[in-house]
Symmetry: C2
Subunit: 307 residues, 2 copies
């Protein structure tokens, strides 16, 4: 099970999607279609990695009856999960999709607070010996220390497991210092380092801080990876129209899968798969899904430059 | 327990209310406050009757984890419930309250279907011997016969229990023919009988059809009651601004409580309490609540005319 990808979603949610014929502010609407599934960036990573044929283990907190629904849905989706119970109730997000234009209006409940004891219980059940990599994504629930991801990265390294951490702000710098493979987008990178830095230079600075590698999505300009061996830019395959939510999570899934197979992957090759997976995610309407045929078609076509 | 009020909510729901600072169509919103409680017109009737000091028993269908949340919330609210399990998942409604103007935008999930076996199970557990009255309110879930309320009224009468039925359309006429006390608003009454009928004449026609009594809310013009002994109009106490949702349910609660105490109440007295309770419901922001102090202040002031 050296290839097992542990995906951490500290702020798991139940994502509810309502379709209505015509959204009218102040109106009363009959919901024509209801969908709900487990959500949070780490769950998207798990779904994409599983779709690409990798073994995944979804990790996170669940509480209350909403937490039970989340656990059920992960099970129904075929995702093995190891969930830590908490006293609070798992949060919901509600997306209203307007039938006239397809636009979504989103409402995010505040997540439950996680106590120090619950955070300790989460660590205690980490199956380190089974993990090939630990992929951590998304916001932190109230109650957890700001450096929670860096703490996980340090513990992972202690068990000889590499971690891939998708986060912004100071937590990005802390994850780099803890030796993780760090994932971010260009805005998060500039927010953490400096407003006028190039993505290439920013990725290199994260490696200088201690990151094993830095992989940064750069919107329509592709992606950049940096490690101690060099840095690379992958160009996008073609302009893809669709739903960009989940594109970054598809990238994280590919990076985590590569690291699970080898702690020192060929980053120019990883970028090819990451760009193809991100574009294939944009084609699907729901975050966490990717268009596998498009991924396979695009993957060999991605151009990568050594910087 | 002759005074026990059984409240029937065949289309029970979990009512979720989200408060947001500023509602923007197509935007992503942080929910600043989340409330959820059991909903459906019959639950509002139960809450108001309990607030007025009556013994209530909430009856309905629950399914899935949302059904469990509904059952928990009824318990937490101190409402005794006798719920029939169904295979489908209890529906949710989501109301988004906009912080800038207090307006609510509402999304109603389609309810679960109820099978003939589940409808039979509902009948089988009816505690007729304990009931003083059966109050039925609100829409029917898919799967139930259109004359479900009339069927309940006939069974109730067979057990010497009077029923109070708040419904519109053909079901209103069927309930009248089944000998129930029928509750409706002016629009429902005209919709069922004829567009240009007066509320007074409409109420009398329902009694002629077989209704034990007919109590019709007439918006700002007050309320009308008719029985074989006569008909009465109660005038509103004063113009009350607020949330009219639940005002009709407060009227039904008062009517049910009166019938539970005596099968032949003094309808002019019942109207006084019904008008006061409806106005006291408008003062509160949530359907099912009433302002008890306002109710007590207004109840003696209501003017009733014999027609």
């Amino acid at each position: 099970m050296a290839g097992l990808i542990g995906t951490v979603t500290l702020n798991l949610a139940l994502d509810v999607t309502y379709h209505v014929d015509e959204f009218v502010v102040g109106g009363s609407h009959r919901v024509t279609e209801t969908r709900q599934r487990a959500g949070g960036k780490g769950v998207n990573v798990a779904r994409v990695a599983a779709t690409l044929g990798h073994q995944v283990l979804a990790l996170g907190f669940v509480g209350g009856l909403t937490g039970e629904i989340v656990a059920e849905e992960l099970f129904d989706a075929g995702l093995t999960a190891l969930l830590t119970p908490i006293a609070g109730e798992t949060r919901r997000t509600v997306a209203i999709v307007n039938g006239t234009d397809g636009d979504a209006t989103i409402f995010n409940e505040k997540g439950p607070s996680v106590s120090p004891d619950e955070w300790r219980a989460f660590h205690d059940r980490m199956p380190w010996a089974r993990l090939g990599v630990l992929a951590c994504s998304g916001s932190l629930p109230p109650g957890l220390p700001a450096d929670a991801y860096a703490e996980l990265a340090v513990r992972a390294r202690h068990h000889d497991v590499l971690s891939v951490i998708d986060v912004g702000g100071d937590a990005l710098l802390a994850a780099a210092r803890a030796g993780a493979v760090v994932r971010s987008n260009a805005a998060e990178l500039r927010d953490a380092l400096s407003a006028d830095i190039s993505v290439e230079e920013g990725a290199r600075q994260l490696v200088d801080l201690g990151a094993t590698a830095a992989v940064t999505t750069d919107g329509p300009r592709g992606m950049v990876a940096a490690s101690k061996l060099g840095s690379w830019r992958a160009l996008p395959v073609e302009q893809v129209a669709g739903n960009p939510t989940g594109a970054g999570d598809a990238c994280t899934a590919v990076v985590a899968a590569a690291v699970a197979e080898s702690p020192k992957p060929d980053w120019s090759e990883v970028l090819k798969s990451a760009v193809a997976a991100s574009a294939a995610a944009v084609l699907t309407p729901v975050a966490g899904d990717i268009d596998l045929a498009a991924y396979r078609r695009w993957q060999p076509q991605v151009a990568v430059q050594s910087l």
